[in-house]
């Protein structure tokens, strides 16, 4: 026999809801019509009696139509779920205090201690165990080991990932165990949005913290800097540093570029000011990719020293090529070069032209002239390194006592600067440069011969045919044709190429030192580049070439702009390029890079042999070497085993058929720590706040008991069968309906109503 332990009223009428509404409206209409028919009745009592009888009739009628009944039920109580979340992030590896066990061990110990209490809760709730860190993962049971390996802590994400209802059981409560060192949406503390998200979970979260938040530690919490910076423009690096349990102290911070200190600043931290953000600024003086390290000293008994430095890669680019144009006297060659440079939006041109020499007689006092003194000291002592390219055009240095500054120019080039000397009666040997300190950086040297004023057509050398400076056409043949079409030029300084220099254009028959005299020659000097143009008539390639159309003029522009790009090492003109897959990587990550090699004609170099070395960027010590070959697209991928923490350079040298294609490099920073491991301080206050917002309790793991928990009551649900018993088909209601209808009919007739 079935037993029922609950009941409820139900309507058994099979009609749709809208039909019930229509019937109710009709009943109401019946009452209203009755009221209208009774308007002539003056006796209020009679009117009330008749209206009451009609209303009762209509209600009784509705009662029959709705068919009310009683449903007898069988019910059961369903247990809610209690989710126990254990922190599995890497920060749990840190000790709970100086000389104490790790937070992970403390959490495990706590769970063991409260297991009996949790078992008690199992009577009313089902227990579920999870680990959280980067994401939420179920654990096999209460005793499952939780290895602190996750490289992030996302508490809110883990709570939101908990299923609200699972297997018909709702989530009744959460017990959250960890150090509170969140580095996701709660990394900056509790925000309004985070509060809303916690409240919307609709469940009380009780928290247990491990670690007391008083760990002694100095940490560089974050370093903010743009991905790239402009050379010679101030770069600001925003560093947030925090100290916990260290008392008051002044922390000297230093910013280093691959071992060289570029900025320093001190910051004062103390119990009232545990966190400060400071800006370290510096002015990068050369372009390229560099590894920078922000570091703070390591103090005694710190919880971790991995967070006392932070590494990043900064790409330094140029905003515009800054050119210093020094001219011995105004000439057409200077005018056309100036016009070209001035019209190029990528060039920032600084010019100094000698408009009057000691011998000239302007026939006017100084104040009627617009001349200014030549600021030799300012330019060649203080500002020289601010230029990407220095051009000496037919400039005689001797009258300006520049002997003492020329060594600066030599050093400037060797350290990465670019220098061009353009011919004329004051250039090269004629200008006495063969005896000067910069003789060694020039691609050519004087031979003691007088300038040759004969008109000639310069001849491309084999190197010139391929070199990006003299490549005027899309192919070697087009380049050769373009040069042949340019007008002949008059006069060169007769020189010969220095060892190691490349001659790109040469005189067809003037010979010096057994070689044809160079017209355009280039050289690599230290980290810099130089070029010699031994004529002062390159402007012919613009103006004279324009006699028959504009094609020639374009060649002049192309020649000089390509020369500038090559001289200042435009990355697009590099034939071997190394590109790190990631320039900043976390610890224990392999270093990967893509290498592309191009042939002399800049086509992909298939089958090129690559020697790729990994160096320590600070000490220069080799770490690993790999040899590989490029594919059909001229590229190859290289991967090095994780080398440890620090700054590294990947340097590739490419060779094709025994001919060297060049070298390229990129830098990779292996960070000392991740945000997860760098945050040594536990944050019990965050866990307390979570509990407070959601209505749970909070406690330290050292209490070895459960925190106050406000679990949702078990749900009662219908199970098994039910039975409906109608109540409308009884005698009483029928009698009531008949009495009301009959009574109204009798009284209406007696009181004279229709």
């Amino acid at each position: 026999m079935e037993t029922f332990d609950d009941w409820k009223l139900v309507l058994l009428a099979p009609w749709p809801r809208w039909a019930l509404f229509v019937l109710a409206a009709l009943a109401l209409l019946g009452v209203i019509l009755a009221a209208r028919g009774l308007r002539q009745e003056r006796r209020r009592a009679r009117r009330a009696v008749l209206l009451g009888l009609r209303t009762a009739s209509m209600l009784a009628l509705l009662f029959f139509v709705l068919e009310p009944g009683v449903r007898h039920l069988q019910t059961a109580t369903v247990k809610g779920r209690l989710a126990v979340l254990v922190d599995g992030s890497a920060s749990m590896e840190l000790p709970t205090g100086e000389g104490r066990a790790s937070r992970a061990a403390e959490a495990a110990e706590y769970l063991r201690a409260v297991m009996p209490a949790l078992s008690e809760l199992e009577r009313t709730h089902t227990l579920e165990f999870y680990r959280y860190g980067e994401k939420l993962q179920p654990l096999s049971g209460p005793g499952a080991a939780v290895e602190p390996t996750d490289e992030a802590t996302d508490i809110l994400g883990a709570l939101e990932a908990l299923p609200r209802r699972q297997g018909g059981r709702r989530l009744a409560g959460v017990l959250l165990l960890g150090d509170g060192a969140d580095n996701a949406s709660l990394s900056r503390g509790m925000t309004r949005e985070a509060r809303e998200r916690l409240r919307s979970l609709g469940v009380a979260i009780s928290t247990v913290w491990t670690g007391d938040g008083r760990a002694r530690d100095l940490a560089i919490e974050s370093v903010r800097v743009e991905d790239f910076a402009f050379v010679r423009n101030t770069v600001e690096v925003e560093v947030t540093v925090s100290a916990a349990g260290m008392g008051s102290l002044e922390v000297p911070l230093s910013l280093q570029r691959e071992g060289e200190v570029v900025a320093q600043k001190s910051v004062i931290l103390g119990p009232k000011q545990e966190r400060q953000t400071v800006k370290l600024s510096f002015v990068p003086d050369r372009i390229g990719e560099f590894v920078f390290t922000v570091s703070a000293p390591v103090y005694e008994h710190e919880a971790t020293v991995a967070n006392n430095s932070e590494t990043f890669v900064l790409k330094v680019i140029r905003d515009r090529v800054r050119v210093l144009h020094v001219v011995g006297r105004p000439s057409w060659d200077q005018r056309f070069l100036r016009t070209l440079l001035r019209n190029d939006p990528n060039v920032d041109l600084i010019s100094f032209y000698i408009l009057r020499t000691q011998q000239d007689q302007p026939r006017a006092p100084e104040h009627e002239l617009s001349l200014i003194p030549f600021p030799v000291d300012e330019i060649f002592d203080k500002q020289l390194w601010s230029f990407d390219l220095v051009v000496f055009q037919n400039f005689n240095y001797r009258p300006y006592r520049m002997d003492r500054y020329l060594p600066n120019l030599q050093r400037y080039v060797e350290e990465g600067g670019a220098f061009v000397m353009i011919g004329g009666e004051n250039a090269f040997g004629e200008g006495g440069y063969d005896q000067s300190p910069i003789a060694s950086i020039l691609p050519v040297e004087a031979v003691g011969a007088a300038p040759n004023e004969e008109v000639f057509s310069p001849r491309l050398t084999e190197a010139g045919l391929r070199h990006p400076i003299t490549r005027l056409g899309s192919s070697a043949e087009a380049t050769r044709r373009a040069w042949e079409q340019l007008p002949p030029i008059p006069g060169i300084n007769v020189t010969r190429a220095r060892p190691g220099a490349q001659v790109l254009l040469e005189h067809p028959h003037v010979v010096a030192g057994g070689q044809n005299a160079p017209v355009v020659a280039v050289a690599e000097v230290g980290r810099g580049r130089t070029m010699a143009v031994t004529t002062d008539a390159s402007w012919y390639w613009a103006m004279v070439a324009a006699r028959s159309g504009e094609g020639g003029a374009r060649h002049y522009e192309r020649f000089w702009l390509q020369a500038i790009r090559w001289l200042v090492r435009d990355p697009d003109l590099t034939r071997v390029r190394v590109q790190a897959v990631q320039r900043t990587v976390p610890p224990r990550t392999p270093l990967a890079a893509t290498i592309s090699a191009r042939r002399a004609d800049y086509a992909p170099a298939e089958g090129a042999r690559l020697e790729v070395d990994l160096f320590d960027a600070v000490t220069g010590a080799p770490v690993e070497r790999k040899v590989l070959e490029t594919g059909p697209d001229g590229t190859a991928r290289v991967e090095f085993a994780p080398p440890g923490v620090g700054a590294f350079k990947v340097v590739a040298r490419a060779e094709l058929g025994g001919v060297e294609l060049g070298t390229g490099q990129d830098v990779i920073a292996v960070r000392a720590t991740t945000a997860e491991r760098g945050e040594a301080r536990a944050r019990p206050e965050l866990l307390q706040e979570i509990a407070e917002i959601t209505g749970g309790g909070s406690i330290s793991s050292t209490a070895r008991r459960l925190p106050p928990m406000r679990l949702l009551e078990p749900e009662v649900v219908e199970v098994g069968r039910s039975e409906d018993r109608p109540v409308w088909d009884r005698f009483g209601p029928i009698l009531l309906l008949a009495a009301c209808l009959g009574g109204e009919w009798v009284l209406r007739r007696r009181w004279g109503h229709a």
């Binding site: 302007p362 617009s370 009666e425 300038p451 008539a537």
Partner: protein, 245 residues
């Protein structure tokens, strides 16, 4: 004949006693003035350019060729000499199509044209008309006295020539620089000397002081042709502003 020999001797003497420039590296980098030849009175002030070349060489570091070239306006040889001087006393006859095309390329690719009216203003007006054909779409306008042309070497406050017929210069800008300048004050008349070294024309109304201004303007024009807006560079401004006060 004797007169010519005497003049040559004088020139040799002057060139010996005056400080010498460094010899230029061939003719290519020297400033060579070219006088444009056309059907009509193309050379009303003989010797003017020779004197200007001399003065430029003496006063500045620019190396000049002592003698000007004379070339027709449709000559491709013009392109070897980017400073073209055009002078006249009567209206310039309408240029042929070849001349217009040649001058358009010349000015577009870097040439500089100085038109000098040695008459009553009709030549200047005709030059303005022809420039409209040579560089269509470009606006010809007055050159303000704060233009770099007036400070390219000397600090000048106004233009001058043999006369002061028009207290301003006009010009056409091409590619960010003045490609053509028109003077109606007979610059050549102020510059010209005869073979004995005497000034060919009196300068009115300012006399020798005005002649000096004309020479200074000539030097500035040569300097501008070679250095364009160099004196507008930031580094020069404090000095120039101080001296202008």
């Amino acid at each position: 004949m004797k007169r010519k020999a005497l003049a040559t001797g004088l020139l040799v003497f002057v060139s010996l006693v005056l400080p010498r420039q460094s010899p230029a590296f061939g003719e290519t980098s020297r400033l060579v003035f070219v006088q444009g030849r056309y059907d009509g009175d193309w050379n009303p002030r003989p010797g003017a350019l020779r004197r200007l070349a001399f003065e430029v060489a003496v006063r500045t570091s620019i190396a000049t060729a002592p003698e000007e070239k004379v070339l027709p306006l449709d000559s491709p040889e013009l392109f070897f000499y980017p400073f073209l001087y055009l002078s006249g006393t009567r209206p310039l006859p309408a240029l042929s199509r070849a001349e217009v095309e040649n001058l358009r390329r010349y000015l577009t690719f870097g040439g500089f044209l100085l038109c000098d009216d040695a008459g009553d203003g009709a030549f200047a007006a005709s030059c303005e008309r022809e420039l409209g054909r040579i560089l269509p779409g470009r606006t010809l306008g007055r050159i303000p006295t704060d233009h770099v042309l007036f400070k390219s070497f000397y600090l000048l406050s106004h233009p001058a020539g043999r006369t002061l017929s028009r207290p301003y210069l006009t010009g056409v800008v091409e590619g960010g620089r003045l490609a053509a300048v028109i003077s109606a004050n007979d610059l050549g008349g102020a510059w010209a000397r005869d073979e004995f070294g005497a000034w060919s024309y009196d300068v009115v109304p300012g006399g020798e002081a005005q002649r000096e201004v004309a020479f200074r303007l000539g030097v500035n024009l040569a300097m501008y042709a070679l250095c364009t807006d160099y004196k507008d560079d930031q580094v020069h401004l404090p000095f120039i502003m101080k001296r202008r006060r």
